[in-house]
Structure formats: C-alpha cells, structure tokens
C-alpha cells in the first residue's frame, strides 16, 4: 500500500512535492502547484491566489486511496488466480 515517503516545498519549481512509496518500491508523486500560473497566451506568470483554500492532506489522501484501491484490486486478482506478485 502507498504511504507518505517524504514531502517538501521546492521553491525553484513552485511545487509542494509529496512522494508516496509502496512496499515494492513503486513511487507516485503528488505535486501541488503553489508557485504561480502562467498566461496561456503570453506565458507571463501570475501568483497563485488560492493557497489559503488548498488542503494538501485531503488531496493526498484522495490520491492515496485511489492508488491503494487499485493496488488492492490487483492483489486480489493475483490471489484469485494464484499469480506471483513482483
């Protein structure tokens, strides 16, 4: 099952980086864009104005549950058909 491995704020890229690992070494990165948005026309950047509304814990929990649900289904499938899990 996926669990939190590390998280940090990368000011250079403007991401809150949350790295999830499972027990087999699989990784999934959740990255919250907290730095800026860019104008689709000219590429100019604009500061984010919704940081107060962000709930990173809830976002991560939602993604983690989706990943774990998918993984559990795969493991159930492997068990049902007696497959080796790598």
């Amino acid at each position: 099952m996926y669990s939190l491995h590390q998280q940090y704020l990368d000011t250079a890229s403007g991401f809150h980086v949350i790295e999830l690992h499972d027990e087999r070494g699989n990784r999934h990165l959740v990255q919250l864009a907290v730095g800026h948005d860019s104008c689709p026309a000219c590429g100019a950047v604009h500061p984010k104005d919704n940081l107060g509304d962000l709930d990173p814990a809830a976002a991560v929990q939602q993604i983690k549950e989706a990943l774990n649900t998918s993984q559990q289904q795969m493991l159930n499938y492997a068990g049902k058909h007696r497959l080796t899990v790598r």
């Binding site: 990368d10 990784r27 999934h28 990165l29 990255q31 919250l32 948005d37 689709p40 962000l54 998918s70």
Partner: protein, 363 residues
C-alpha cells in the same frame, strides 16, 4: 645513348610514393648495369643530393571551428599556403596528417587521435564538447613535424534537432501519457504509463532505459499550456520549453490543460438493435461544451462486442458512427458517454532529444 634520368627526377616523379620510388630506382640501376656491360656511357653515379622524402614536410596550418554540435577541421598544406614562403611542397607530394584533440590545454589527458589521412577537411560530430586541437604532418608516417596547435579551446555547440539524422541512436523517446482532468476550481495534470493512471512509465535514451514514477500535479489553472519534464526528482511544469534541458532532465510531454469543464454536458445516446446486433444509434441529447469526442461504452446484460465512435461539432455530438455491430444484445443496451474534454497531448509530443539529454526544442 646516355641515360638522362637521375635520382632527383625519380624522386620527383614518385611524389613521395616509396614503392614507386624503389621500382624506378631499381630500373635505373638495372639500366646502369646494362650500360656497363654493353659499353654504353652510363650515368656517372646515382644523384645522392635529391630530397629523400624522409624528412618531415613544412608544417600544415590548422583551423578548427565549432557549430551545431560539430567540429569543422580545415587543414592547409604547405603547397596551398599563401604568403611569400609558399609553396613549400612544389611536387605536391601527399602529406599525411595526424589530428588529435584533448579536453586539456597541455594534451596531458583524454587525448583522442584520429585516423591518419591525407584529407584536409573533416566534420566531426561531438555536441556539447569543448576541446583543444593539434596537428602534425609527415610524408612517410614515420618522421613527423612538430605539432601545430589550434589557439585556445573550441566548443562544438549544441546540435539542433534539425541537424540530427533520422533514427539517430541517441534519440530519446518515452512511453508516458500526459493529460489533464477537471478537479473543481482547478485542473489536475496526470503523468502515467501504459498501465493507466498511477502506473510508472519508461524513458528510453539510446540503448538504455529507466522507469520513472507516475505523477499527479494538482492545482493547475484551466486553459493553460505547458511542457512536463522529469528533473530526476520530480516533475517540472513549464509554460515554455527552454531551448536546452539540463543533462539530467527527461522530456515527458506537452500538455494543453483543459478548459473549465463546468459547462460540460455529456450526450445521451440510444442503440437500435436488430437481430441481437446494434445496427444504428439515436442521439437523444447531443450534449454541450464538448471539446473532444466522448468515449462510448456499450454494456448489456446479454450482448457484447459492439463499438461506436462519436463525432463532435461545435461542442455537441452530431453523429455516431457504428463500428462492430456485436451480437446477442437485448433490446435495451446502455450507451455510456465519458470524457468529452481534450486532455493534452500524449507523452513525447513536442520534444525530441539527443546527446544525453541536451535538447533542442522542436516546438
């Protein structure tokens, strides 16, 4: 009759070709012997003052420039040199050139010596390299001039993708998919592999490959464009692709983040069944706000195998094209539309790479 040939003339005729010189000399000596036996006036003696072609030639000139990922080498032989002292190889004897390079100014390490040749120009592809260059010359590949050194280091520069050959072995590709989905007030960009959302993907560079983690990038503004790259630790989402990537970066894909999907209404479609097969589709509601063709999934309690494709015009479904009719369907199969919003471009689009990650934007 007297023999009018001397060894200097043989040397000149041989133009530095030692085999030819030996052959002509042998003939010359045989004729001398013949003349001695027949009483004909021989040559007084072999001319030992001719140039032996064992001494090195005058130094050649070396000029190295770098552009577009390649070093351009130009060698000027003595006979082609301009100035009061030229020509210094009036017989145009072949001059062998030995070219070498090194990242060190004193050539103390990392020396690469290129094959000896009489060529006077080379184009050597070596993108992103900065090297010192030197040259030495010889008539017989045994006795060499001192090195002629190109002043200062020369940089080859970066190779543009336009300059790379098709299917270049160092071209980089990946098996990532990058798309975007609506997620409330912002969009979510997803990076995943062939196994679907949440699965890792493989990047291939030349003959090596590596598996890179999947990713979910949250809180991205709707209707923006950008490029996703893997920087070795995490994903980067850049509004524009820089001309060059750092060596450790891997291009992932170009993304056109979806517009706000709040006005999206998926179409309602019914199937027309005849003899257990779906022969047509009826558009009950064409939907609204569609920016891409929705995926149509057909389910039924008994039937299977039917496929269909929706055609979208001006945000609504205007046509459903039947694919396989399937079989065994009841009278009321269910047609479910999903998607309907454009989700960016699949991984690898918009960026090609070469030379160990040194990239040049195609977009």
């Amino acid at each position: 009759m007297a023999l009018k040939v001397n060894l200097a003339q043989i040397n000149s005729a041989a133009k530095g070709n030692s085999d030819l010189r030996e052959t002509l000399t042998g003939i010359h000596l045989a004729l001398q012997s013949l003349y001695a036996q027949t009483g004909t006036t021989p040559l007084s003696k072999i001319d030992s003052s001719a140039a032996p072609f064992t001494s090195p030639p005058a130094p050649s000139q070396l000029a190295v420039t770098g552009a577009n990922g390649s070093f351009n080498i130009a060698i000027t032989t003595p006979q082609n040199a301009s100035g009061a002292t030229a020509p210094r190889n009036a017989t145009n004897a072949p001059i062998y050139q030995e070219l070498s390079s090194s990242p060190a100014a004193n050539f103390a390490s990392g020396v690469t010596t290129y094959p000896i040749s009489t060529n006077t120009s080379y184009v050597l592809s070596n993108p992103g390299a900065t090297l010192y260059w030197r040259l030495r010359s010889s008539y017989n590949q045994q006795n060499w001039t001192c090195y002629t050194v190109q002043p200062g280091a020369v940089s080859s520069g970066l190779m543009s993708s336009a300059a790379t050959a098709s299917n270049l072995s160092l071209n980089q590709s990946n098996y990532a998919t990058v798309d975007s989905v609506a997620n409330g007030s912002t969009a979510t960009v997803r990076v995943y592999g062939s196994g679907g959302v949440g699965t890792s993907w493989t990047s291939i560079l030349g003959n090596s490959s590596k598996v890179i983690a999947s990713g979910t990038i949250l809180n991205v503004a709707y209707a923006t464009n950008g490029f996703v790259a893997w920087d070795g630790q995490k994903y980067q989402l850049k509004p524009q692709l820089a001309q060059t990537f750092p060596d450790t970066w891997v291009p992932v894909g170009k993304i056109s983040v979806i517009a706000n999907a709040s006005g999206l209404a998926l179409p309602v479609i019914h199937a027309v069944v005849t003899g257990g097969a779906i022969v047509a589709y009826q558009i009950i509601n064409p939907g609204n706000g569609l920016t891409a063709a929705p995926t149509l999934t057909i389910t039924d309690s008994t039937g299977s195998g039917a496929t269909a494709t929706a055609v979208v015009t001006a945000g609504a479904v205007t046509q459903v094209t039947p694919g396989s009719a399937g079989s065994g369907y009841s009278s009321t199969p269910t047609v479910t539309a999903s998607g309907g919003v454009s989700g960016g471009v699949a991984g690898g689009g918009g960026a090609t790479g070469n030379n160990g990650g040194r990239l040049y934007a195609d977009v």
